[in-house]
């Protein structure tokens, strides 16, 4: 029995029961059947505790939402203090917190980005970006990457993989063109008609398992956009906020996108907020018709407080230094493990602390995820490529925690390999539980 003041909980089983009944039987059943029956209770730093008491190191971070850890002390302090003054605020009006955050975001942004539009989550921010591009170009077509993931709101879900749109009849092939990642010819072909409002691109497609852009690919896409009058939208929701070793992953490519979307980690893991940074050329609607997009929760003042503190922490030279150290230590450690399991652990995709681990099985990452779960590490498989495990250490890890993480990781990888190797004929068959 746990008392959380505004509600009480009988037991973990009770939570699972209520979740099936009132919340989401599909999800609840999937995790239970997969062997990752996680119900997060306590959380602090990079540790989460299941209701059963098991402690896990979090390298899922919800795509970077918990970049600075769970309940980061500075964030908690900032929000607590903020709550003495602020609430969600009135989105219609200019506000001190929104102005302060906008100025700070512009300060940190690639120099061509001059205005900030707020959303309450990544999907909404993507929709804002797409609408902005459509207004700026007076075109409708959106080009995105096959197997991309930009969220689940109306326009965003149509840019992503069919897996999330078809079921709701929300796919729109008439206006949304998908091209394979790293395929310049296909991209050129899609832009050639000259009717594309925008190309939207995750700097490294996350849900697809972090395949890395081929050398020169993103740069070439940007050039194609320029020559066709198409807006380049950089989805930096997972690659932003120092996770590649610089504030924005796109900056490492020397690209100044016309629009940049940030979210997840911007919240500090505490208060939802997302933001769209737009160039002056794209920002027309903000002057022509400032009320064209409205969001009750977008740019909530408490969210701005969290975001300002998050930017401050991410922007410290100490943080940049630590990310570089973590990327080096964890990268080397993973390569050492890979050398010991070369037939199983077949690839590492890494940019800073954004990592994808490839395993030699169509659902290899699910096996590894489950074994890691049993060995005290929480990492999620890539929905759109279940061979690949998303592996995302936070930017404030200590060397000791990294070492412990690597040891547990090897144990999980080893356990998964043993299971896959020794499972009966059909070891290449899908894991128990509804595979997607």
């Amino acid at each position: 029995m746990r008392d959380y003041d505004v509600f009480t909980v009988e037991s973990k089983a009770d939570v699972l029961e209520k979740s099936r009944e009132y919340w989401n039987p599909g999800k609840t059943g999937f995790w239970v059947d997969t062997g990752v029956d996680l119900v997060i209770d306590r959380r602090e730093g990079y540790y989460i505790w299941d209701m059963s008491g098991a402690r896990l190191i979090d390298v899922h971070l919800n795509g970077g939402t918990f970049n600075l850890g769970h309940r980061n002390a500075e964030l908690v302090e900032a929000i607590t203090t903020g709550m003495r003054t602020f609430d969600i605020g009135n989105h219609h009006f200019p506000s001190s917190a929104r102005a302060a955050l906008a100025a700070e975001l512009v300060r940190w942004a690639p120099p061509n980005l001059t205005k900030v539009v707020y959303g309450s989550g990544g999907g909404e921010a993507i929709d804002i970006a797409l609408k902005t591009a459509r207004h700026a170009t007076r075109r409708r077509r959106i080009v995105s990457i096959a197997k991309a993931y930009h969220g689940h709101t109306g326009l965003a879900v149509a840019t992503g993989d069919d897996r999330f749109s078809k079921i709701f009849l929300a796919d729109r092939p008439d206006e949304f063109t998908h091209v394979p990642f790293n395929d310049l010819a296909a991209m050129e072909q899609a832009l050639a008609p000259g009717d594309a409002a925008a190309v939207i691109m995750e700097t490294i497609p996350a849900t697809y398992g972090f395949p890395l852009p081929a050398p020169g690919y993103l740069e070439a896409v940007k050039e194609l956009c320029e020559s066709h009058g198409t807006v380049y939208i950089a989805d930096e929701v997972q690659t932003g906020l120092m996770r590649t070793g610089e504030m924005w992953g796109i900056s490492k490519h020397g690209i100044e996108p016309d629009i940049l979307v940030t979210g997840k980690g911007l919240s500090g893991g505490i208060y939802p907020i997302a933001a769209v940074l737009v160039s002056e050329q794209c920002a027309g609607w903000l002057t022509e018709d400032g009320f064209a997009h409205i969001s009750s929760f977008g740019g909530a003042e408490l969210g701005c407080v969290a975001a300002l503190k998050t930017l401050e922490i991410c922007g410290r030279p100490q943080t940049r230094s630590m990310v570089h150290y973590i990327a080096d230590l964890v990268g080397r450690g993973l390569r050492d493990i890979q050398a010991r399991y070369p037939d199983w652990f077949t690839g590492i995709r890494q940019n800073g602390v954004v990592m994808g681990l490839e395993f030699d099985h169509p659902e290899g990452a699910k096996y590894v995820m489950r074994h890691l779960y049993e060995t005290g590490v929480w990492a999620i498989f890539s929905t759109l490529d279940p061979r690949v495990l998303q592996y995302k250490p936070g930017v404030l890890m200590t060397p000791e925690l990294c070492e412990e993480l690597l040891e547990r990781t090897e144990a999980g990888i080893s356990g998964a390999w043993a299971e896959v190797r020794h499972s009966p004929a059909g070891s290449r068959a899908p894991l128990a539980g509804r595979a997607r």
Binding site: E77, S251, M322, Y325, Q350
Partner: protein, 616 residues
Amino acid sequence: MTGPRAGSRGRAGSPTAGRRGQQRNIRAASADLAAGPGGGTPIQGAVPGAEPAGDRGPAKTARAVHPSRHRARGRTAQAAGGQHPADRQATEPVHPGTSAIHAARQMLARAHWAAGAFAGYDRSSVLRITEAVARAAYAQASRYAEWAVKETGFGVAEHKALKNEACSLGLFQRYRDEDYVSPRTDPAAKILSVPRPAGVILALTPSTNPVCTVFFKVILALLTRNAIVVSPHPMAQECCTDAARLLAAAATDAGAPDGAIQVVEEPTVELVQALMADPVTDVIVATGGTAMVRAAYRSGNPALGVGPGNVPVLVDTTADLAAAAARIAESKAFDNSLLCTNESVLIALEPVADRLTRELARQRAVVLEADATARLRAYLFPDGMLNGEAIGQDATWIAKQAGIRVPPRTKVLITPFGLVLPEEPLAREKLCPVLGMVRARDAEAGIAAARAMVRIGGIGHSAAIHSSDPAVIMRFAERVPVLRMAVNAGNSTGSAGLDTNLAPSMTLGTGFAGGSSIGENLEPQHLVNWVRVAYNAANDVPFGDFTGLSPWGVRAGPVPPYPVASNLPAPDGGTRPAVQPTAPTRLGGAAPPAADRMREQLRALIIEELRQLGKV
């Protein structure tokens, strides 16, 4: 190479003029305190009510700050004062300055990463890095010496430059042939020893020997593969911060791990205490006033601290009087007595006292008549506390302030008195070129007087003797409870190892009785622990052959390497990353809200330090 931060000092003005301006600031600060409620014992020079604090905003401190910085802060304070009180309350953070403390603690986390990397470096890398840093420091010795004098308002630039040189290249040359890195074997004892650096050093540096102490501690850290976070004294914050940054860049350029050297930007008392207590700090090396050292020991982390000095110098009948006079005068005048090893009271044996006096006069060290001494005592110790204005100032200036006439170019003022007693303020540490003097009938009485000096203060610190009689010197060593003695040398430089063969050091441990965990001059070996791998002592258990086995290595390129995407070729070793970190400049010039609190703390800190000096 950039000069002092824009807006700090400018170029014009002689050092003396700068210091005079400095004194106005000190007195202005005093006026603030005298005028304010609960200001405590005022520092001499305060004219209560003469300069009301309100007129000029919160800008007056004992630290020389360019006037334009004062004005900027004043504006901010007034702007803040114009708010509605209820608004102020609502937006005032719960803990002003908390962000700065978190950022500083994160410096420790970064240092911890650096220390972990550094601990694996081999000796050739260590020497290469240390030499590069020592040379970079040496090249700026004079520049920092002048800056330190301008910023703190005291000392002698020419002498500070010598200290800077000694604590940079001098230090490196002294220790380059020592090995704090390689494993050692003792085949007879069958013990293998492998060095483990302490890890993260938090180094507190003083206002008296500001930049040379930064150089000193950084080089010691580099020689022993430790990461260091420097926390400078607020009175010397600008020159020390600049120096530490210079060394950090030189170190990284030479291959040191990123973050091996860092410096705290705005060291408030609260922030420094948080760093001292932080579990990531491995050892605190505290050079400064007693309050700071005690705080370091109280913090819960291991600490190496100093103690105050009150140096007796005995001249006996076997001394070479001319040489002794020259050495004593030079030692007192060296940096205007700012080194804690400066002589406090001269104990001259009666048979040679007059001749010594004449020799001293030749060295421009003037023995004052009784009434002059009385006036000087009153000036230096009004109400029994040391007059902060006089610290590190020229003898001629002090004489003028005290209303005493001395020959031009006098270097030292000598104040005779009868007995070394606690109620005689001139028997205490003076931190300026004023030397007390007593006469003793014989060596035994002289040694007793030296003991009396140390009863007043300076236990475990230092003493000096000019003699050629080993029996007297041995007796002196046995009877006077200090832990270093300069013989036939000035104590300022002698006990600091700058012209004796003691370990050259800006941090002198005063031993257990002196409240310090170390009883010698701090040197590199104090920052290294060793793991001792001891074989079974029985004769039938052989020792291992460790020839050619070294745990350390060299990594090519920067540490850590730049995080290039794994599908791109690795960058060349040593080249800078393609993208410079986005470090936007601050918009606007609003002073941080913590600035006012910091100034209050700075004032309190200075008062406390001066109180400690005056403590009986």
